[in-house]
């Protein structure tokens, strides 16, 4: 019965720990930044932006955040090595590991055991959601968006709203499905991160005693609630946004940036520059 030891078995410990590590850094850290940025579609209303108020301020704030991200040097390398590869690694190994699980919640209905099972379910759904999210909005697979709209970095909020609503002028049935999928997807991913932070501390041996695990669990709960609020505000904020008036705000911003860009610098650099000068970034 001498089964030859495969790659996964030979490097079991290292791969397991890298799986745990990538979930926290970079993926977990990125999710925190990503959700806070996207929630600007709600907190931007409160903050105001460049003399704008209400939804217009939120659209401008979000656009400002997006411009900042697109001004980062070698963004594609950051994406590939900081996000796509770690997410692919975490997902593929996670699915392989999760297949050895035999949930028994019917017999052992403890809260911890439910979180164990939900961690695996949220992993599966999360992989599908992230794939859909990145494919449609980043890789431009707009045939997967019900209205067929395309996301654009210059019209960030309005095209995001169109993707969630299924058209550029209000909700369609397809949009309702996409928005529902987003709500489920982000909620499960936030749970996956918060619970993953709790289990990672046990796996690495940071929290050993039962009371230490409980204390860190409370911290993870607070992190989870905070991120959940950010995630829900982001999805609901874009799902209820008026895409047409958002587009006006974005067009104005582009025109202003072009006007300030008389000396021939790259347009998106100028845009982010201009905004950076009078408002604090995300």
């Amino acid at each position: 019965m001498a089964k030859s030891e495969g790659f996964l078995e030979r490097h079991h410990f290292l791969l397991r720990r890298l799986h745990s590590l990538t979930g926290v850094v970079p993926i977990g850290m990125f999710l925190m930044v990503h959700l806070t940025t996207n929630a600007s579609i709600v907190w931007g209303r409160i903050n105001g932006h460049d003399g704008l108020e209400g939804a217009d301020a939120a659209v401008a704030t979000f656009q400002h955040e997006v411009n900042f991200i697109h001004s980062l040097p070698a963004l594609i390398l950051i994406e590939i090595f900081g996000l796509w590869l770690p997410i692919a690694f975490h997902s593929v190994l996670g699915v392989i590991y999760a297949t050895s699980s035999k949930p028994n919640n019917d017999r052992y209905a403890y809260q911890d055991n439910w979180r164990y099972t939900l961690q695996r379910i949220s992993g599966y759904v999360g992989v599908l959601f992230i794939f859909y999210h990145v494919a449609t909005l980043r890789w431009g697979w707009s045939f997967l968006i019900p209205g067929g709209t395309e996301w654009s970095a210059e019209y960030a909020a309005s095209t995001m709203a169109a993707a969630l609503q299924g058209s550029t002028d209000g909700f369609r049935l397809g949009g309702l499905l996409v928005s529902a999928f987003y709500m489920v997807g982000v909620s499960l991913l936030v749970f996956h991160l918060a619970n993953g932070l709790w289990t990672a501390a046990i796996s690495w041996g940071l929290t050993v005693s039962e009371s230490a695990q409980k204390r860190w669990g409370q911290v993870c709960f607070v992190i989870g609630v905070g991120l959940m609020l950010a995630a829900w505000s982001a999805v609901l904020g874009f799902a209820t946004l008026d895409a047409a008036s958002a587009r006006e705000v974005e067009t104005n911003m582009l025109e202003k940036a072009a006007a300030a860009d008389g000396d021939g610098a790259a347009p998106e650099h100028a845009a982010s520059h201009d905004e950076d000068s009078d408002h604090t970034g995300g």
């Binding site: 050895s100 164990y116 690495w204 041996g205």
Partner: protein
């Protein structure tokens, strides 16, 4: 049971004696034989446990359908919840049948008690399972203090009472298997060759910690950690934490798992920087 003389006690005992409880038992005549369910009905006296009921069934193995069956086979030894051998799945959860009191698990007339063998160990017959894998796991993690040799090693290092107190709790493990039965990561492995390929479970992890905490036992700490860094080791734990909740000895199994996690982290890092 002799009935007490005073009126009140006599009445209560009579009422308790007339109580009927059904036992739904998962039966199997041997490895790879078909599984079947049989139901027996017994009159329960006060203070009975699952084992005394199984003895009554053995004395008269007639099912509720009136069919004459065979005595149910099960394993037991100490009858006071310290040997672990009578562990079975009672009403869906793993526990010892000696300490499963009928008055608690089936308090009312007409209640049913469901008995199954543990599902994570090969069935030998009926409720009797082969727990060898756990004893093999103890060998794999070298759950002992190495003092054998050809000459007198003299007195060992001094042990601190605080650490002895921690170790005492871990030493109460009776290798019953409840933690493994309840673990969603621990799988049934019928063949011995598969034992080191799937999760070793909380029982052996906790014993590895016990002997790592012992001053002399710690001489084998590196060997134990190397074993537990393998494909069946500590990183297979999924943190469902059922083990600690079902442990009849209340051993802090999840603390043991985290402690082994910490030891392997330190071991791996120090090996990466200073190992060969």
């Amino acid at each position: 049971m002799t009935v007490a003389t005073t009126n009140g006690t006599a009445k209560r005992t009579a009422a308790a004696n007339s109580r009927k409880v059904r036992f739904r038992i998962k039966r199997c005549d041997g490895p790879n034989k078909l599984v079947r369910w049989e139901t027996f009905e017994l009159t329960i006296a006060k203070g009975e446990n699952v084992i005394s009921c199984l003895q009554k069934i053995a004395a008269n193995p007639v099912t509720t359908e009136g069919k004459r069956s065979t005595p149910v086979v099960w394993d037991c030894s100490c009858l006071e919840e310290v040997c672990g051998s009578c562990t079975m799945v009672i009403n869906g959860q793993a526990r010892q049948s000696c300490s499963a009191l009928i008055d608690v698990i089936a308090p009312d007339d007409g209640d049913t008690v469901t008995l199954e063998p543990m599902s994570k160990f090969p069935v030998i017959r009926d409720l009797w399972v082969d727990r060898s894998r756990m004893f093999d796991a103890l060998k794999r993690v070298k759950a002992w203090v190495p003092i054998d040799g050809t000459y007198d090693l003299g007195a060992g290092p001094r042990e601190r009472p605080e650490e002895q107190a921690v170790r005492y709790a871990l030493s109460e493990c009776m290798t019953c298997g409840c933690c493994l039965e309840a673990c969603p990561q621990f799988e049934l492995a019928e063949d011995e060759s598969e034992w080191d390929k799937s999760f070793i479970g909380a029982q052996a992890l906790s014993q590895a910690r016990l002997f790592n905490l012992h001053e002399t036992g710690a001489q084998l700490k590196g060997d134990r950690l190397e074993t537990l860094m393998g494909p069946d080791g500590v990183s297979e734990c999924g943190n469902a934490q059922n083990c600690v909740k079902v442990c009849p000895k209340h051993i802090p199994l999840t603390e043991s798992i985290a402690a082994v996690g910490r030891s392997t982290t330190i071991h791996a890092i120090s090996k990466w920087f200073s190992g060969k």
